[in-house]
Symmetry: C2
Subunit: 215 residues, 2 copies
């Protein structure tokens, strides 16, 4: 059965899933790249995001690779798609990732402002959903055709899906870093009360990985 | 120079330093013992808290042992001393730890209600400070006579000392557990803005240890 999964989502020790003040220069917010310290060295990051053959294998890479297995569609919040707020000024912004984004499947972007779908190289098509998180999930599951849907983020989007009890599984990578401020992933959310439990954990030199499932 | 240190303080992945609803039966709050999963197996816990020779050596034990090195006094919040709230009904409550508490030095308990000091077996003397966190720190540093002061907790007490910029060093053990709700250690505190940085980190199979210092 198709599941909605948050995978390879990094959280700082003080609880932030993104830095503050996202901008064109800081896609993950100020100091947000500190969150990627476990992911950037992996072969999976190098292969899927940079298109290179370098990078390390090992437990972090094994876990990162799971983030791309059996994924038939993605859902992204609008801020994860880009730094633009409000109505689209034009169609020129096509994401942070260049001509060949690392998705290679349909990607559903949550937004309050409609925009036509468009296709990129490598099989990624961006669709824009104005009807809310449940409609985006319906469309993504339909597009995924039995495979899983990966909820990419950012923090506000994950919180919305968690609060609605729509996330089936999460893998969070807690990294040894302090951000001080930013977007807090758990603040005001009681994961246990929402029906979530830790199913497995694994520490590596770079992170404490938690695997969380819905009861 | 004598420092104020938070040592071996455990935090759940979702950011709680204690469970909710502390009581005589749940000194660390409901499910709070989940926070001790890294500490309970160590030889240090067995030696210092249980008075036994069992327990495991290894990296967690090496780190736990630092929690008892060069400590000349402790500071505890009242809730860490006991489950009683409001005025002391009598002098019968002498802490959670039996006749020979694991401190063996003067312990300063923050409270709004004065009470006479008393001595336990093994060198632990409990003093009660009604003048606030700075007065407790002054008294503890004086008693420590050049050694460090360990700030034992709980969460509200650590937050008060952090907000005042009085903590010099922290070792936090992030454990792979979800509490759902409880006492959030960082909520609303910006450690970076308060002058704190991570100085070192170490993961073990049971925890992600962060060492934090004041700039």
């Amino acid at each position: 059965m198709s599941k909605l999964k948050v995978l390879s989502f990094a959280v700082s020790a003080d609880g932030f899933g993104a830095g503050a003040d996202q901008s064109l220069e800081n896609p993950v917010g100020v100091n947000g790249t500190d969150l990627m310290s476990w992911f950037h060295p992996t072969r999976t990051f190098n292969k899927h995001v940079l298109g290179s053959d370098s990078g390390e294998t090992g437990p972090d890479d094994d876990i990162a690779r799971m983030g791309f297995e059996n994924i038939g569609a993605w859902i992204l919040g609008r801020n994860m798609f880009g730094p633009i707020r409000g109505p689209w000024p034009d169609d020129s912004w096509k994401g942070w990732w260049g001509d060949n984004p690392p998705y290679h499947v349909p990607v559903f972007v949550l937004t309050n402002y409609s925009r036509d779908s468009f296709e990129m190289e490598g099989g990624t098509t961006f669709h824009f959903v104005t009807g809310g998180i449940e409609e985006a999930l319906d469309q993504a599951k339909h597009a995924a055709a039995g495979k899983d849907v990966r909820l990419g983020g950012g923090v506000a989007t994950i919180r919305a899906y968690l609060a609605a009890g729509l996330v089936d599984e999460m893998h969070l990578a807690f990294v040894p870093a302090l951000l001080g401020h930013g977007e807090a992933l758990f603040s005001g959310l009681d994961l246990k009360a929402l029906g979530y439990d830790m199913t497995r954990s694994q520490t590596t030199p770079n992170a404490m990985h938690l695997f969380i499932g819905k009861r």
